[in-house]
């Protein structure tokens, strides 16, 4: 009989791990909290840096999962994890020879930065909202008109101790660049401003895309974090920032303000970690053994990680890591059960 591995989370990380394990003759079981698979990536329109439709990545993954007849539990939340299985909220226990935690991340709630007026002002939206708008094929202001001046604000819920988010979410910079270009493609006459603290272009092709955004798309990058946003009488958004590169305050009114929300650790990580007796990193993500050879394992044998459960990661990094996780699980099972 094949060995069985329980994968907590049916997002990109979970699916890819499952597929990799299956191809190595191990039987994976996915437990997904949501009623469908695919995780957050389902909500994305196109992926940086090549504008690949997110569907083209996620749909084939799910289709393969079905083809492979991999068992999935839907709408089931895992409350406890151990190296030999997980416990669901219903109290049911799913045993396994190893457990992979692929629980991903939580989007930062932009309401928490109330000075930006998300949820208060009509035309303040998040990067996730914008992806949804682009998925629907229509990016408009609430009154139905086209935006002519759009501001993107980087690092909302990242590198901000005031909302307990000390870490960098890694993907927002490139997302901001990608979305700014998409906006510019949709509205070539619009003025697009990106307000940033630092531009961190860590991946292949990212810096090139950034440069293209600047030079080819004439997107204005202003170094300075917006301090506050306010709504004007005609529903535009007045923003204030410091243009730190000229050392002067800067104010302007825009039609739309897009907040590039970061990644937070899941609130539930705390309970899961406690149940398994494993530590969390100070930022609330699961702590791996180290950043090098033990990047998908923890101190407790039999528990593995994949994807953004341990740190903010791009979809590409997540998929790559999932394969690594599968290989680590495989080795573990081989060593443990062939004695």
């Amino acid at each position: 009989m094949a060995h069985r591995v329980v994968i907590v989370g049916g997002g990109a990380a979970g699916i890819q791990t499952a597929l990799e394990l299956k191809s190595r003759g191990i039987e994976p079981i996915i437990v997904e909290r949501d009623i469908e698979l695919g995780g957050k990536a389902r909500g994305w329109h196109k992926l940086f840096p090549l504008f690949t439709p997110a569907k083209d990545i996620i749909d084939p993954l799910i289709a393969r999962l079905r083809e492979e007849r991999i068992r999935c539990f839907y709408g089931q939340e895992v409350t406890e994890i151990a190296s030999d299985g997980v416990v669901l909220r219903s109290g049911e226990r799913i045993p396994g020879d190893a457990v992979v935690v692929a629980t991903g991340f939580t989007l930062f709630d932009a309401h928490r930065k109330q000075e930006y007026g998300y949820g208060l002002y009509d035309n303040v939206i998040t990067s996730v909202d914008l992806e949804r708008m682009m998925n629907s094929g229509r990016v408009v202001l609430t009154d139905g008109s086209e935006p002519r001046r759009i501001a993107f604000l980087h690092c909302v819920g990242s590198r901000d101790e005031k909302v307990d988010q000390k870490h960098c979410s890694k993907v927002c910079c490139i997302t901001g660049v990608k979305q700014a270009i998409e906006i510019k493609q949709m509205f070539p006459d619009a003025d697009v401003f990106n307000f940033y603290m630092d531009i961190r272009m860590y991946g292949p092709g990212y810096e090139e895309l950034y440069r293209s955004a600047q030079q080819d798309y004439n997107i204005h990058f202003i170094r300075g974090r917006i301090s506050e946003a306010a709504e004007t009488i005609n529903k535009r958004i007045q923003i204030k920032a410091e243009d730190t590169l000229t050392g002067r305050p800067l104010r302007m009114t825009v039609d739309m303000l897009v907040l590039l929300v970061g990644m937070s650790a899941n609130y539930e990580n705390k309970n899961l970690a406690q149940s398994a007796g494993i530590p969390l990193a100070p930022n609330g993500y699961f702590r791996t053994q180290d950043s090098f050879l033990g990047s998908v394992t923890c101190e407790r044998e039999g528990i593995f990680f994949a994807g953004a459960a341990t740190a903010p990661k791009s979809l590409a990094d997540t998929l790559a890591e999932a394969s690594l996780t599968a290989s680590a699980v495989c080795n573990y099972i081989k060593v443990k059960y062939t004695k």
């Binding site: 208060l120 306010a230 004007t232 009488i233």
Partner: protein
């Protein structure tokens, strides 16, 4: 109102038994307001509030202007607290936003640096022989008014509604910077969108105007105003706010800080004189009220009893709008019907001269 975030920022406000600390500016510029506060609390609401003749200025202006050292102001503040304890109170209420900020700052400093508290305790003992007892709660007087807003609403004789159209009045609320910008948790609703005044306005029937520069400072900023060379910057702040709010056609401004009430009011006159710009309907200015005056009008107090003739911008249009009956002729009559003089007519105080003292002359 869409904003609900204020509910996340709540604080402990005592229901009764307050020790009252006055404000230097308000005593002089809006004496009616402080009196009204005491009257509303003790007479209308029947709560215990003690106005102690022994207490002094907190010396905050001196502190912010670099003439009073930290040790001194700490000792003065410690003395206020000692007086409160001696009088048998533990809920400290400050009428001044600057003082409120000072009290919070010093209490927090004592907490972070206990040695400063010990030192202050020693100085206080040496200087006055009194014992420092820290208050159980500390609140600004607007917090108290906010706390009792529903009770006041129940007793309301007038609501913040345009008596002619039945529409709610559009009210600009302005919160003093030191209310919650120093310690966000010290204010109802936090630092970004304090709810303390908005709560009163909404419970008394008015609409809060949310305009872009709502959170901006009025420009008082001690050293900005006190040094003449910096006054241009001071007035520019008020100017920015007035420019930003005026498209919303507010019926009046209400503020909870002595400086803000004074400057949003008086700068309207200065701006009119400097570059001819006037705000408000017919260019007669936007009246600026204290929250006590607002509460007083709601409760049916006489505007002149509330001291509203002390304002630079005439309040009569607002009173008419609210349907409040008042004696126009009594505006500049003091105690016992004595004429107290009147300001020269200007762009923002241009009510018709049909006052009895004109006739007497």
């Amino acid at each position: 109102m869409k904003r609900t975030s204020w509910q996340e920022y709540q604080k402990d406000i005592a229901a009764d038994k307050y020790y009252y600390a006055r404000s230097c500016i308000r005593q002089n510029f809006f004496p009616g307001s402080e009196k009204a506060f005491l009257d509303i609390l003790s007479k209308d609401l029947g709560v215990d509030i003690f106005d102690d003749p022994l207490h002094t200025s907190c010396t905050g202006i001196g502190y912010h202007s670099d003439v009073v050292p930290l040790e001194t102001i700490m000792t003065v503040v410690a003395r206020q607290f000692a007086l409160m304890a001696e009088a048998g109170y533990e809920n400290f209420v400050s009428s001044c936003i600057t003082s409120f900020g000072i009290y919070n700052e010093i209490l927090n400093t004592w907490e972070e640096f206990p040695e400063t508290e010990e030192r202050t305790r020693k100085y206080l003992k040496e200087a006055t022989g009194r014992e420092l007892v820290k208050p159980r709660t500390i609140a600004h007087t607007s917090d108290i008014m906010f706390y009792h807003r529903h009770e006041i609403a129940r007793r309301a004789k007038h609501r913040l509604i345009n008596a002619l159209t039945g529409e709610p009045l559009r009210v600009v609320e302005h919160i003093g910077c030191h209310y919650a910008k120093i310690f966000p948790k010290s204010g109802i609703g936090g630092s970004e969108f304090p709810y303390v005044l908005a709560g009163m306005i909404e419970s008394w029937g008015g609409n809060v105007v949310d305009y872009p520069e709502r959170r901006h400072c009025c420009g008082f900023g001690f050293r900005n105003y006190l040094v003449q060379a910096n006054r241009g910057s001071s007035i520019a702040n008020s100017h920015k706010k007035l420019e930003s709010m005026s498209p919303y056609k507010p019926d009046f401004i209400v503020a909870n800080c002595p400086g803000c009430t004074m400057f949003l009011d008086k700068w309207q006159y200065a701006i009119a004189e400097m570059d001819g710009t006037t705000y408000g309907a017919d260019g007669k200015g936007i009246p600026v009220l204290t929250y006590e005056e607002m509460a007083g009008l709601v409760l049916g107090y006489d505007p002149w009893e509330l001291g509203m003739q002390f304002h630079q911008v005439d309040v009569e249009p607002l009173l008419n709008k609210m349907g409040i009956e008042y004696e126009p002729e009594a505006k500049y009559l003091g105690k016992g019907g004595k004429y107290i003089g009147r300001p020269a007519p200007a762009a923002v105080n241009c009510e018709e001269a049909r006052h009895i003292y004109e006739i007497r002359r």
